[in-house]
């Protein structure tokens, strides 16, 4: 799924991720580690376990024909053996007893020292645990310096531990995450998303630019009072908020689901139309109607982000509310920057003749590029 494009942070991260995983001519020589991430959601556990193929080959043999080259067929043929070998050496329990885990699919990933099998596990404890007892003995018989690097991800905190070696059994008290902290974490996610989502910002800016002007006799003139401009902004932002809150909730609760390509394209289209409306006014004084209508679409966009973040089911409503509050705070911050500037400049010809129409046109053009990219799934940048 493609998230709102052209965010510089996202690009930077992707670039970084590509660099990190750019295979060097040769893999590192390092001691053996596996990477085990447990995601806790209530009593349920989803796990990802990355185990080096080299270590598995040494312990149980992967290289069927003994030529030193592990093909995908050879690895696939040993998937069942790998899963049972690994699961026999990992026991997870809560204070109420064992949490049974079963193996799911296996894929491949790369780490600094070579290719790893990525084993997915699923299971559940009897009740949401407050403590986990992890007994880890992978490769204990073949490589005494092997370690399991454990990450336990429950909601908004990740706890880590180093498993294996002299202490195969470790008790990990799960840090209690207060609801307030969880709420705040989602507030931050919402705010951050608005700030890195250029399309949401530009939509909002397109609606804000004309708020300090009124249309008289086919021309823009300045509004006399800040009160007039503010009441216009309040109406517009409230309509936008109301609309996207409704669709965000509907999508997050799985009541409605739309294909992300349609949603992303419609968001781009909304920016194009909102910006063009400033140059050739059609909706005119009733910008709040446009905000309401297009806000429905942006809400589906926010829901996509929330789906990527993952909503903890035990605090679903609270997290959803937090995310929404964050989005509103992010919006208000943008309003707080844009409105004083435009209000101060509103009397100038520069603003009315150049900045407002020119800026709007530039926004429309950029959004048009997004629209083309998203609708036809191509990259023009």
């Amino acid at each position: 799924m493609r998230r709102p494009t052209l965010s510089p942070w996202a690009l930077l991260y992707m670039l970084l991720a590509c660099l990190l995983c750019e295979p060097m001519p040769a893999h590192a020589h390092k001691p053996s580690d596996s990477y085990l991430t447990l995601r806790l959601d209530g009593e349920r556990i989803e796990a990802r376990w990355d185990i080096a193929l080299r270590d598995l080959d040494f312990a149980i043999g992967i290289d069927g024909n003994g030529d030193g080259r592990l093909t995908w067929d050879e690895i696939r043929a040993r998937h069942a053996a790998i899963a049972s070998y690994a699961l026999a050496r990992l026991k997870v329990a809560s204070e109420l007893g064992p949490c049974a885990l079963v193996a799911r699919s296996q894929l491949v990933d790369r780490h600094t020292d070579g290719a790893y099998t990525v084993l997915r596990l699923e299971g559940a404890c009897r009740a949401p645990p407050t403590r986990l007892i992890v007994d880890y003995r992978l490769f204990a018989g073949t490589d005494a310096q092997h370690r399991g690097l454990l990450g336990i991800d429950h909601g908004t905190v990740v706890q880590t531990a180093i498993l294996g070696g002299d202490q195969p059994r470790q008790v990990i008290e799960l840090a209690h995450v207060s609801q307030a902290r969880q709420f705040l974490a989602y507030v931050w996610h919402g705010t951050w998303h608005i700030w890195i989502g250029f399309d949401h910002i530009l939509f909002l800016v397109s609606l804000l630019l004309p708020a300090v002007l009124v249309r008289q006799g086919g021309r823009w003139v300045r509004v006399p009072h800040l009160r007039t401009a503010t009441s216009d902004v309040v109406k517009t932002v409230s309509a936008f908020t109301l609309a996207h809150s409704v669709t965000l909730a509907l999508a997050a609760l799985d009541v409605v689901a739309l294909p992300s390509r349609w949603v992303e394209s419609a968001i781009a289209l909304s920016v194009v139309l909102a910006a063009l409306n400033n140059v050739w006014p059609r909706v005119l004084a009733r910008r709040w109607v446009a905000a309401l209508a297009f806000g429905l679409v942006h809400g589906f966009g926010f829901a996509g982000v929330l789906a990527d973040l993952g909503l903890p089911r035990n605090t679903l409503a609270l997290s959803l509310l937090g995310f929404n509050v964050g989005v509103e705070l992010g919006q208000l911050a943008i309003v707080a920057v844009v409105l004083p500037l435009t209000f101060a400049l509103r009397g100038t010809k520069l603003y009315r003749r150049v900045l407002m129409p020119g800026g709007s046109l530039a926004i429309a053009l950029l959004a048009l590029v997004w629209l083309g990219e998203r609708a036809f799934d191509v990259s023009l940048a």
Binding site: P31, L70, W72, D109, D143, Q145
Partner: protein, 380 residues
Amino acid sequence: MLAAGGLALGCAAAPYRPASGDTVVETVVRRTGTPEVRQLQARLAAAPGDLDAALLLARRYIALGRSETDPRYFGYAQAALAPWWQRVDAPPRVRLLRAILLQNGHQFDAALTDLRAVTASEPANGEAWLTQAIVQSVQGDHAGATASCARVTTLADQLAGFACLAAASVNTDRAAASERLLAATLDRAGGAPSELRVWALTLLAEMAARRGAAGIAEQRYRAALALAPRDSYLLGAYADFLLDTRRPAEVLALLRDQQRIDALLLRYALALRAQGSNRAALAAAVTELQARFDAAAQRGDRVHLREQARFTLHLRGDPAAALVLARQNWAVQKELADLRILLEAAQRAGDQSTLRAARGWMQRNGTQDVMLASLTRGGT
């Protein structure tokens, strides 16, 4: 979420399904499968308490770990010794190998405990005295190391003894005399084993470089490389020499195929930086090194502090962080390279008290080195 999960896992893009069944996903070294090793593995699997088989297999793995510079073999060796590993009363032969493995993990104090016990119960064990001398040298205990070397000289052959003494006196005012003695002994030791000759030649090359005799150092490095072209310590030492004499292009040619080894990838990256022409390759090498240090930090390893300090100072340009690492490293090991990175980081970070302490240490020990001298004169 994906981002956070990925970072938590070190380097992880999205897991993927290989394009087709015959895609080669990974290559593994078949060396562990030599008949001798396989036979020993089978013997040990049948009887894990078979001490002779365990010792033979552990020694094989330690040798492989050294020749390949691949720490996984040390884990295999430790696993072979598992029945005795935790035992205080382990047999001396196990304690010697345990000490070697502990030394590899930079647990020098624990290694010395084992070595002292072995040399006490088996005073004629030359290998134990030599290993003890090396650990003492690394810790900066020059007097202790010299005493241990004296035992080596009487027990093992003369070349090993004088190489041991040279290693022990590298940081002291006896370095020049040790160098002359070792050089003369090497000339007469025609039949010495290749490993020992490589060690002696490497020491002699380092000592020549330290007193500014670049031509002699070059000659000795080349002679050593002719005997052991893949010796990673030797390659690292020669690469440092080439970097000091501003010959980065030769470092790149020397280490092009050695990037699996962190210490050598570090030299490769330093050479790329010195050359300055291939920025993309430098960025890739720096990113790779950072990923490897991060991976080591995740498992709590402290074995690469020296390399990490050099990386942080010269490639990350962060003197303050480099100084922290260099000081942590200095607390554990006190070889010349450790002293040098400590001085470099302290100077760049402007930490006068560390500089004073390091200079005091050098004066007390009579350390002589042209590179360090230029550093300690200050100002450069």
